[in-house]
Symmetry: D3
Subunit: 318 residues, 6 copies
Amino acid sequence: MTGPFEPLDSGTIPRFAGLPTFMRLPVAEPAEVDIAIIGVPFDMGTTNRAGTRHGPRELRNQSSLMRRVHHVTGLSPYDRARVADCGDVITDPFDLMRSLDLISAHYAGVRAAGALPLTAGGDHLISLPILRGLAADGPVGLIQFDAHSDTYDTFFNGSRYTHGTPFRRAIEEGLVDPRRFVQVGLRGAISDAGNYDYAREMGVRIIFIEEFAERGVADVMAEIRDIVGAERTYVTFDIDGIDPSQAPGTGTPEIGGFSTREAQAMVRLLDGLDIIGADLVEVAPPFDPSGLTALTGATIMFELLCVLAGVVEAKGKR
Amino acid sequence: MTGPFEPLDSGTIPRFAGLPTFMRLPVAEPAEVDIAIIGVPFDMGTTNRAGTRHGPRELRNQSSLMRRVHHVTGLSPYDRARVADCGDVITDPFDLMRSLDLISAHYAGVRAAGALPLTAGGDHLISLPILRGLAADGPVGLIQFDAHSDTYDTFFNGSRYTHGTPFRRAIEEGLVDPRRFVQVGLRGAISDAGNYDYAREMGVRIIFIEEFAERGVADVMAEIRDIVGAERTYVTFDIDGIDPSQAPGTGTPEIGGFSTREAQAMVRLLDGLDIIGADLVEVAPPFDPSGLTALTGATIMFELLCVLAGVVEAKGKR
Amino acid sequence: MTGPFEPLDSGTIPRFAGLPTFMRLPVAEPAEVDIAIIGVPFDMGTTNRAGTRHGPRELRNQSSLMRRVHHVTGLSPYDRARVADCGDVITDPFDLMRSLDLISAHYAGVRAAGALPLTAGGDHLISLPILRGLAADGPVGLIQFDAHSDTYDTFFNGSRYTHGTPFRRAIEEGLVDPRRFVQVGLRGAISDAGNYDYAREMGVRIIFIEEFAERGVADVMAEIRDIVGAERTYVTFDIDGIDPSQAPGTGTPEIGGFSTREAQAMVRLLDGLDIIGADLVEVAPPFDPSGLTALTGATIMFELLCVLAGVVEAKGKR
Amino acid sequence: MTGPFEPLDSGTIPRFAGLPTFMRLPVAEPAEVDIAIIGVPFDMGTTNRAGTRHGPRELRNQSSLMRRVHHVTGLSPYDRARVADCGDVITDPFDLMRSLDLISAHYAGVRAAGALPLTAGGDHLISLPILRGLAADGPVGLIQFDAHSDTYDTFFNGSRYTHGTPFRRAIEEGLVDPRRFVQVGLRGAISDAGNYDYAREMGVRIIFIEEFAERGVADVMAEIRDIVGAERTYVTFDIDGIDPSQAPGTGTPEIGGFSTREAQAMVRLLDGLDIIGADLVEVAPPFDPSGLTALTGATIMFELLCVLAGVVEAKGKR
Amino acid sequence: MTGPFEPLDSGTIPRFAGLPTFMRLPVAEPAEVDIAIIGVPFDMGTTNRAGTRHGPRELRNQSSLMRRVHHVTGLSPYDRARVADCGDVITDPFDLMRSLDLISAHYAGVRAAGALPLTAGGDHLISLPILRGLAADGPVGLIQFDAHSDTYDTFFNGSRYTHGTPFRRAIEEGLVDPRRFVQVGLRGAISDAGNYDYAREMGVRIIFIEEFAERGVADVMAEIRDIVGAERTYVTFDIDGIDPSQAPGTGTPEIGGFSTREAQAMVRLLDGLDIIGADLVEVAPPFDPSGLTALTGATIMFELLCVLAGVVEAKGKR
Amino acid sequence: MTGPFEPLDSGTIPRFAGLPTFMRLPVAEPAEVDIAIIGVPFDMGTTNRAGTRHGPRELRNQSSLMRRVHHVTGLSPYDRARVADCGDVITDPFDLMRSLDLISAHYAGVRAAGALPLTAGGDHLISLPILRGLAADGPVGLIQFDAHSDTYDTFFNGSRYTHGTPFRRAIEEGLVDPRRFVQVGLRGAISDAGNYDYAREMGVRIIFIEEFAERGVADVMAEIRDIVGAERTYVTFDIDGIDPSQAPGTGTPEIGGFSTREAQAMVRLLDGLDIIGADLVEVAPPFDPSGLTALTGATIMFELLCVLAGVVEAKGKR
């Protein structure tokens, strides 16, 4: 039996038909659901190649290929939680600071409504206002899948709010507990030998791709689970953590990244943590002519959704 | 002042945000509006390169670039008529005949609801069941912008329902009055010297691109208006009527077609006719990597929408 | 010394010259050769994104890059067997059931001619009529490389013949022995938790990508060889078994698939089995702008050809 | 005989070799030359699809195909004026207002150096700070080739500086004399029926594409020359004035535009006017996979360069 | 009734099936036919962007969209002449001079066989050895549709055989009568003011695109027919004569070219001349991702084929 | 503190601004630097799909994404050595033998200037004249990352200088010591069973991808370091050694190649060898629409640069 928040049935309505909502789900308000899938079409934080403002639309488009039941667990997130497409956060393309406020206010509302947000970005700067909206009560843990640390201080004459700086700000603002903050997949040359110093000094655990490749998914994820522990944790997945052969459409690609097989295995091992929300960011459709990046992103979003559905079920919300 | 059926305001909500409905309009039922924009994602009639099943989605996507007010008339269709995105007709990808019935039933419903349908195809076969739904009372006039006649008899072992045959069937079924039927833009080699015989014998007026190029838009459109006269007329616009440099993403491109400037001028000269509906067909996104075809198609749909809004206004429906 | 069925010599005739036959081979009739390479340009079984009707042409095109001698074995299939391009099976794009009959009749003819068929699809539904043509004497074993099980029952109002259903039909029709049937590489969410029930109940061995990743090629292939044993076995390779970074041009891509390195290793380990034919399906050129999918497909076809040549040699046919 | 500011000789150095400077010219400072070709990689004024920040680089790349001598006049701009690639204006991607100041200061410097600037944008907002730099002495005439008026007042909560507003600001700031301001090529639906009111009230002459199509190049250009007269005039060419079939790579394409043949003819008829500078804006490479837009843009830049070289020669600068 | 040299019937064999021969014709030897369609995959004459070596294959591929009967004349070339795909000329990619000899020998053979050749290039240098093969008896007239004169003397340290020089060589070698030689469509900047001097001094008639645009197709073609007169004439069509919006895939695109509508009209007006052969050159598939250039080229080839069929019929060859 | 040969600072000058020199470095002469990055835009050695003549330009373009400091070592090559973009070698596209001489003379000059060359190709034939320029004193060791052996003898009527033959010539000419020559990554079918005989007989160590996959990076690289020892060694990296999913834009792609992760690990393990120069060849931009191949190539070039900087530092050159 299916509930009121079910994807369109592809055995009746072909996948190419209908409005491309996330996962072919109904549109609803956060207050009506347990998990709110939200788009944040915003790329004002981007320092080089923009385009993630178009990310939510293309992630919705490719998510039409997603199905209901996870083949490993045999469980459907839609049996475990009420899930809907809760639309986009509308920002102001000519006022970065106002846009950050609009986003944080929106997520404070989602939190107040009692829904767990699953977000489609947008560039990585959006994680900062999302955390402002979700972590008002005190710092949360953070698991970051990414090629880059995003803990720089400033760019271009002192700009403090860019997609290279959100997590420095999040630590400074007390939104994230740096001792419960893990970054995995980092790689690629850096601008300055001191680029990782701040993160290291604050106690952030950085797992470079080389260490990851040597230890493997299971060992690395065990450590990550230890670090964040049983307390509230946010998950942020930058698509550039994945190799550009599988996710070329992003502004700052770095070769040598996660395979999607590794990425899926890692996300599945988030199961059982107290996840308060998750985002998938940095999909830039203008650099993704084949749509593969958005397909990869939509599939990772489905994996994250399954994890969030487990959180909902565990809390007995339904 | 704006009514309840207005496009999203691009001065407030960026064009890249929000669900890609047709023209960024609200979703509604035909009974709620004067003009129902409808998608028919269907390409079972295609003899060579398929893909128009994905047409409605990409036409919706590119229609986000459309604005409110026609720059020549200074009028907005949304001030003259209630217009909405009325969703897609769901067909059965494994049963052509049943799909035709589903489409004709749907359009009979639209007609019963009192709305004028503006359709995004789909391949050209869909015009047949649309006409079945709209022309139950007797034959209508037909204006066809196209590179091909689509009045063949059969293909492949006697198949009578393909995108090369809809208007032969429509004449045979008494849906279209062949003496009030004009085809303009035809060109390209044909399979057999007798390919136009049926249409000519029935009295259909064929205006090849060569005649069109010599006479020009104004003269040709004057004749077309004469032929269809003041009675009920349907308009079908096959995107392959337009030159493949401006509409490459279609299954059967023919060089030497209409320029978009010519096409726009022609559609504007439909003003004042008693149009009972219109369609824009044969946009095949898999062959349209740049999106230009869908942009062209969406703009022609806006031009057709303005003409239909004039019909609504003239009839005093509001 | 070379025989009458040799590829064009690329040291004399550049690879960009000449008609693009499979592997740059001569065109011949099945009765003239030991191995018949055949195209089946057909995608009427496709439920979402069509385009595999164009597969054989593009596989031929990319196969111009193939060379003569396998670098691991040092053997050339053209020294071990007579091989030719035996053209395409002509189907009826407006009659699915008749098309299936045309395909099965064609393969019955190939079998009668004594040739082993190596097929370029087309969507996965074609494996059903191929098996009808080849397995008239009784059920054969089946090795399926794929992301999907393709053992669903029906789609869309009861359609029994789609690219999601061929192997359910093949079991029901007694063409395949389910206890000698292995599926490897399956992954991705499913429509219903019961989707694998039929296959499992019939005794089909399903090896998900997760099990494959843990055990590795050698171990998995040893089990597969055990399951099919020494009796007649058919091999079907759905290109979507391979990761979409290496085979993006397919209708239902699933991330996290086989690497080509794994796929090549697996096909090589089919050596010595009693293979009665093989197919490579689901290459959809409209979704493959770079041609990489067809290149991957053509290379897998060459690997399959080498295995089939070993069968021919073992049977002393020359 | 060739001077010190000559393009690389393509009869000696193949066009694919060497650094892609504008027109394969040497790099120099504005003070060294009569005409300074300058890039302004900036798209902070863009309301929908960004990407013109990458415009200068791709315009340089495609300009390698340009040659020396205009085939109609038989004159080379490099014989009539000293011309060089004077690099890019470096802006601040996180501070729009500061970026405008950086641009205007840069062009004030170019003017002080006595060079005529030919600019490669960037989005259309850059014309405002360029005019601030060049028109400090009093309002200049303006000839604008464009699909859009760009005289809106504000967007998004009152933003006054966007690529839809530069020429309203330029009139307000006394940089442009609205009675010597002509816009040609305008078309496409508008957001509000009053969108052209400001321009019309100020006395700007708007020539819509429909009027242009009826009157033709020669008649329209005669009027334009009359309007701007013999006094100082700036020329701004928005690539979206040209039809999207010939210039698809732009953020706000409008079908039905100038053909390149028409555009070239119009630019040539600027000859003899007192042009103080010119720009070519809105080339967005992420939406221009084929490079055709940049090729078109680079060729229009060559035509503008020939006109500017005529100005230099007329003034006896050499 | 159809003869032995008919295209595959698209009403029976879908256009996507079968080997992609030119126009879906049978393969035959020149001696068997009246008109031999021949590929020359060769681009050793290219000075900048190569790729026309892949031209014949992609022209064959797109020619599958061509049909039998010209819609203006109502005549089929296949009813008027025996036509076949006569394969490719095999050249030596490492020996330009030997390749030219291989081509000229091949065309001498075609001429000896009594067939009229219709060639798919290859770069424009191939016209020289074709003329060597066809014009051994004395100079012929030449009609050249092109953006460039191709009458330069040398490139790069004195290379005399490039795609910028074939017609200078052809005049020097007495293959072409310069007073019966017309070039139409020329445009674009030139390397040196004297670039056209040789052609003009020899009496070649150059019709620039500007003159063409002013006079129109009918007037220009009347002059061209006068110039070449009733004697033997060769026709060479460089795809870059056509506007790059309709033929982007070429090595040296120039904006402002022929529309395809103009090009088709011109080719049709070759009817009745004593054409001894024709070529379509400079289609470079690596720069033609959409296939539009090859589609345009294949359609122009069909138009040329119809003209050649008229020559055959006039001579009573059948 | 930064020296005179530093990349542009991306915190001040956005990565999309400025001329695309290699790594955003200054332009200089080899005599001014320790490491000279050089482009060789040349593809006359290519037997099938050309286009690497455009390689240096696109590698420069994508190298704008590179940063300063290696994230594993924490060292910047720009702190260890003076590095600059030393421009392109100008060759003669119509004279292969002269071009080889021009290249070898150029590299003899680089060597005389005391700089280590890091080269961006161009096809693989360029390694031969580079070695002629660098190894005049006697044979050097050679480490070749590649899918192909490139030790064939001749192609097409005896051509000895192609991109399939450079290393046979290099051995014959005494430029490379075959016992200090290792090839790794070889795979793919070969034209003849004897294709590897020459290399094997001369003592070249061939490590096929299958052996590599089994042994892993560390073990293979240990052997490679043993083979070349402490003496002078050249490194050549053919981008087709990497899997076509990560490097599709190349003329002769072979599936099943190195992952970029493996490739990066291998290059890092060249540290400490006496490398006298390195090249990265076979990037063909016309087959690389996404730019991923050039991105991969530019990143491998950065890794090679770090190794070369270690050589410079070890020799105390600064």
